[in-house]
Structure formats: structure tokens, C-alpha cells
Amino acid sequence: MDVVSQLQRQFIDYSASLHREGFVDDQFTQLQKLQDENSPDFVVEVASLFFEDCEKLINNMARALEQQQGVDFKQVDASVHQLKGSSSSIGAMRVKNVCINFRSFCEAQNREGCLRCLQQVTHEYSLLKSKLQTLFRMQPSMMAVDCVLLSLVGLGNRSVV
């Protein structure tokens, strides 16, 4: 069963590194603990919802900031506020922190600052997405593992039932 413990170790280590590097915080830990037999894919499902939300909200922000006639900062702020809320719930710490700065720039109606934050939030979201996808790939392999190899030597002419 060495393969199993190796993979489990890999999963733990990767998960720990995500916490250490600030990609996720205790809220994410809570989500991992909420996963159970009734909802074995809970974390993956919530993460998928989050990534969908991110994309939609980032697009909204980009569109609003592109407006040449004049940026509706309230609209941008509404999207940032929503992203801050959901990133906070899932424990996406870095994304959340960018949102906090982003809101200040919205309040100050600073378009340049907002654009910089938009770039940052897009970057952090992409990074987190790829890290979590890596983490989730490690889970199924744990679940599918356990190759049992039985070597039966010298069966003679007996047929196997």
C-alpha cells in the first residue's frame, strides 16, 4: 500500500503549500472538512461555481471599465463586491485581497488603479484555478488507486473460477 500513502502524502503536501503560499485560507479548509459521503465532490463543485462566477464578474468589470463615454464605477464596484464575497466564502485569499484594493480604487473613481486591479485579479484567478485543478487531479487518483497484484505461482492444470 506504499503507492497509496505516497499519493496521500502528495495531496497533503500540495494542499499545505496552497495554504502556506496564501492561495487559500481557513475557509477552504472548512470546505474540505465539509466534504463527506453525501457530497463527495463538494469542494470541486463549489470551486467550479466560483470559477464560473469569476469569469462572469471579471468580464462585467472589463466591459464597464472599457466604456469610453465614462466609467460607471458603481457598476464595477458591485461586481468587485460580489467577487470579494464569493472569494471570501471559498477561501480564495489572494483573490479576495485584490478585491479589497480594487474597491478602494472604485470608490476613488480611479480608472487606472481599477485597470491594474483588474489585471491582478485576472492573474490571481487564473493561478488559483490551475492550482486547484492540480489539487483535484490528485484526489481521483487517490480514490482510484489500490492496484492489487497477486502472483499465484504454480497453479498446475487447475482452472481459475
Partner: protein, 179 residues
């Protein structure tokens, strides 16, 4: 079991050795125990107080709704979740409501949590169902407003299991005292 079986034959044509590969599914709960914290991680904090409690959850954010729902179910509640203030009011219905507690995100587009609570207290009933607000705001004034409107409790976001349990328990105990 999605496995494989093969036989190596010796020169006489009979089986010399066999290999059997079987793929098992490791129980998903292993992922729960893989956290670094070292504390007992899969202890449900469910309580007979919450078991079967009918809760209506209203939150327009998909992620928040999924997380809060799971937390409530972990406590033992039976949860119906809606994504707007209007849906919330429809779900409560005209007269008697199947729900004992309504958990409301305050900031929702179109019809926010305050408005929903005001309407419940005015047109449905002054004390039932119990209403608990959810908000990211730590503002004292927000909490005072909730209380003035007739809400019974407030939960701060991001939501933690312990905090939901404590606040709901407090709200239920207070309600029982009044009756």
C-alpha cells in the same frame, strides 16, 4: 471492478503464474482527514436542536449559497435555497409557513434582505418564522437596523460552522422563552 487479469503460461500450456489487478475506490472521506491541522476534522457539530429544522436560505451568490447550505445541512437542518428576495417571499407563502427559520443575505439585488424581512414582519407574522440576517458588514448600525426591523439574529460572513450553530441556537432558545 475495472480490473485486469492475465495468465502467463509455462511451456506445458498450464498456468505458471497469474496476475490480478483490481482498482478500488478509496472512501472519499479520506480527503477530509488529509488536512494538516491535526484536529478531529470530521466531527459533525450537529445537534438534536437542529435536526429536521426547516430552513429557508436566500442568497443571490451561487458560491455563498452552496457553502451556507452545506454548513446548515451539516448541522442537521433541512434546507430550501432560493436566489432572490422575491423567491424568498413566494416560498414563505401567504399564511402558515413550512419554515421555522429564514436566513437572509442582506445585500441582494432588486429586493434586499431588509425589504424581505420588513414584508415578512408586516404582512405575514410579527414573530414567525424566525429571521436571521447574513452580512459581510461588521457595522453596528447594520445590526441595529436588523433588530429594529424584527430580525432575530445576525450571522457574519464569511460563514463559519461554529458561528452559525451558536447564532441559530441562541435564536431558537430566545424564541422558546417568549412562547
Amino acid at each position: 471492478m475495472h480490473g485486469n487479469i492475465w495468465v502467463v503460461q509455462n511451456p506445458q500450456g498450464s498456468a505458471q503464474s497469474m496476475a490480478l489487478v483490481i482498482r478500488f475506490q478509496v472512501r472519499p472521506s479520506i480527503t477530509i482527514t488529509m488536512t494538516e491541522s491535526g484536529e478531529s476534522s470530521d466531527q459533525p457539530r450537529s445537534n438534536s436542536l437542529f435536526r429536521g429544522l426547516q430552513v429557508l436560505l436566500a442568497d443571490d451568490d451561487d458560491v455563498n449559497r452552496a457553502v451556507t447550505r452545506k454548513l446548515l445541512e451539516k448541522l442537521g437542518c433541512t434546507v430550501s435555497a432560493v436566489s432572490s428576495g422575491f423567491e424568498c417571499l413566494s416560498a414563505i407563502g401567504p399564511a402558515s409557513s413550512p419554515f421555522q427559520i429564514v436566513i437572509l443575505e442582506l445585500q441582494m439585488p432588486e429586493l434586499d434582505g431588509f425589504e424581505v424581512a420588513i414584508r415578512i414582519r408586516k404582512y405575514r407574522s410579527r414573530s414567525w418564522p424566525l429571521i436571521v440576517a447574513m452580512t459581510a458588514s461588521g457595522d453596528e448600525d447594520v445590526w441595529k437596523k436588523c433588530s429594529q426591523i424584527g430580525m432575530n439574529g445576525v450571522i457574519r460572513k464569511p460563514v463559519l460552522l461554529q458561528e452559525i450553530a451558536i447564532e441559530l441556537r441562541k435564536v431558537l432558545v430566545q424564541a422558546n422563552k417568549v412562547v
